[in-house]
């Protein structure tokens, strides 16, 4: 990926050996996947605050409930006395990171092993509710009463910090902030750290908890959220459908354990798949709107295919960025251009139709779904795609999951600012 073709044989390979998800579908990798494949969704009227004054009333919130049933009981994951030192996005990041690290079975025992294990978990926005609360304290003239934990609670790189402290991972400790492309950038960049030899194991992904008044109001003002389905939450996220009117915000976290291939093999680790390609681009066009024909997305996908050294026809499944906004058809156009005559053979779906847009966590959760699509040879569905606004040769897996041969998958994430990232995963 980072070396010229001539020395490709020396390239350090990066595989995924652990995964964790917390999303509006609940807690746990298999719980999320089985609900996703069954065509279920995680939407409802916003319950963490009263959204009546705002245009958008629908979101995907992580369900509360007893541990082991797919619900979140935070005290089982984060000690009560520590909870108030962290914003909710850190809580969710810790929950998913714990699942991923335990799933990988990686327990560094020597100082050298600890120093070769790093963390790169990002967030699109970070501690928005914490910043809101602190602002009120200052506004009320109580600045001297501001909690000493305000800053470390809100800072985006503190998920990486807390994970490193919890497990003693002393390698590179880094974070990514690229809005809705964060999750893919984190996994891609962390993979490159392993390829370059900076680490042997990296815990990577994204976490987000922006379903709060400031988050919903802010994206509403930007006219980005769905408002036409406030009374039918399960219908609000409808990528590519002609009646789509904006994205539905979700919260959660997706975390993977990335590991150098020989390192994983030597310890007999379970290997889910390999990170084989990664591509990035910038639109240089507009702060929120994608460029014409989503040409930046096209270049990111093209760069990912090139770095993977594969042919596009090897790709069996694309997990689209597909937010349920007007930009969906631009991404479709870019993917059609990428596949050319082979467009009829590939499946592409948007799992945001089931969990919403997890912003900085989206790319990580969707990369995990892509790996599971490879593992099980199943393309998860695009819900609510009743009447596509544009026809396409690409099968967008409307309504129901499909059994398909999938050995290679591509996942896209694009963010405000005109940042695009694509990642390619392969069966090992």
């Amino acid at each position: 990926m980072i070396q010229s073709a001539g020395v490709a044989s020396e390239r350090r390979r990066v595989v995924v050996t652990g995964m964790g998800i917390v999303s509006p579908l609940g807690l746990g990798l298999e719980h999320n996947w089985s609900r996703l494949v069954a065509g279920e969704n995680g939407f409802g009227r916003i319950s963490s605050f009263d959204p009546s004054d705002l245009p958008a009333h629908v979101a995907g919130e992580v369900p509360a409930g007893p541990t082991g049933t797919g619900g979140l009981t935070l005290s089982d994951w984060v000690p009560v006395k520590d909870q108030k030192k962290m914003d909710r996005f850190i809580h969710l990041g810790l929950v998913a990171a714990t699942e991923a690290v335990e799933d990988s079975g990686w327990k560094p025992e020597t100082e050298e092993e600890r120093c070769r294990t790093g963390v790169m978990i990002g967030s699109g926005i970070g501690g928005l509710q914490t910043i809101y609360d602190a602002s009120i304290t200052v506004h009320e003239g109580r600045a001297r009463r501001l909690s000493p934990f305000f800053i470390p609670s809100a800072l985006i790189n503190l998920v990486s910090g807390h994970v490193s402290i919890k497990y003693g991972f002393k390698g590179p400790n880094h974070s990514v902030v690229t809005a809705c492309a964060t999750g893919v950038h984190a996994i891609g960049d962390a993979s490159r750290l392993i390829m370059l030899g900076d680490a042997d194991v990296m815990v990577a992904g994204g976490a987000e908890a922006a379903v709060c008044p400031l988050g919903i109001a802010g994206f509403s003002s930007a006219r980005a959220l769905s408002t036409a389905f406030n009374d039918t939450p399960e219908k609000a996220s409808r990528p590519w459908d002609r009646d789509r009117d904006g994205f539905v915000m979700g919260e959660g976290a997706g975390i993977v354990v990335l590991e150098e291939y020989e390192h994983a093999k030597a310890r007999g680790a379970k290997i889910y798949g390999e990170v084989v390609g990664y591509g990035m681009s910038g639109d240089a066009y507009h702060i929120t709107a994608p460029a014409e024909g989503h040409e930046g997305a096209y270049r990111a996908m093209q760069a990912a295919v090139r770095s993977a050294g594969i042919d596009v026809t090897d790709i069996g499944y694309v997990n689209a960025h597909g937010t349920s906004t007007m930009a969906d058809d631009l991404e479709l156009e870019a993917v059609e251009r990428l596949f050319g005559d082979a467009a009829g053979a590939v499946a592409m779906s948007s799992t945001k139709s089931a969990i919403g847009h997890l912003l900085g966590a989206a790319g990580a959760v969707e990369a995990i779904f892509s790996i599971l699509a490879i593992r099980d040879n199943v393309a998860p569905p695009t819900l609510n795609l009743d009447n596509p606004s544009r026809e396409s040769a690409i099968d967008r897996v409307a309504h129901e999951a499909q059994r398909r041969k999938i050995d290679v998958a591509l996942s896209n994430s694009f963010g405000f600012g005109g940042t695009n990232a694509s990642i390619i995963l392969r069966r090992v």
Partner: protein, 79 residues
């Protein structure tokens, strides 16, 4: 135990998530009750809020144990 001592104890239990039995007058916030430097800043703020007193930084630095806190607050309240 005085009303102030009771209230101090309650605040410490709540903020540090420790068992009530461990919050003895001699207990040090950092050495015995698992607090770090940020926890002690927050504790002092909680005392200020609960007892409507000002605890200047140089005084706060000298409050290391539960008894230190109780004594300081009692003295302020008596003054």
């Amino acid at each position: 135990m005085s009303e102030i001592a009771d209230k101090v104890k309650k605040i410490v239990v709540e903020h540090l998530g420790v068992e009530e039995s461990k919050v003895t007058p001699e207990a040090s916030f950092i050495d015995d009750l698992g607090a770090d430097s940020l926890d002690t800043v927050e504790l002092v703020m909680a005392f200020e809020e609960a007892f409507s007193v000002e605890i200047p930084e140089d005084a706060a630095e000298k409050i290391a144990t539960v008894k230190d806190a109780i004594d300081y607050i009692e003295k302020q309240k008596a003054a």
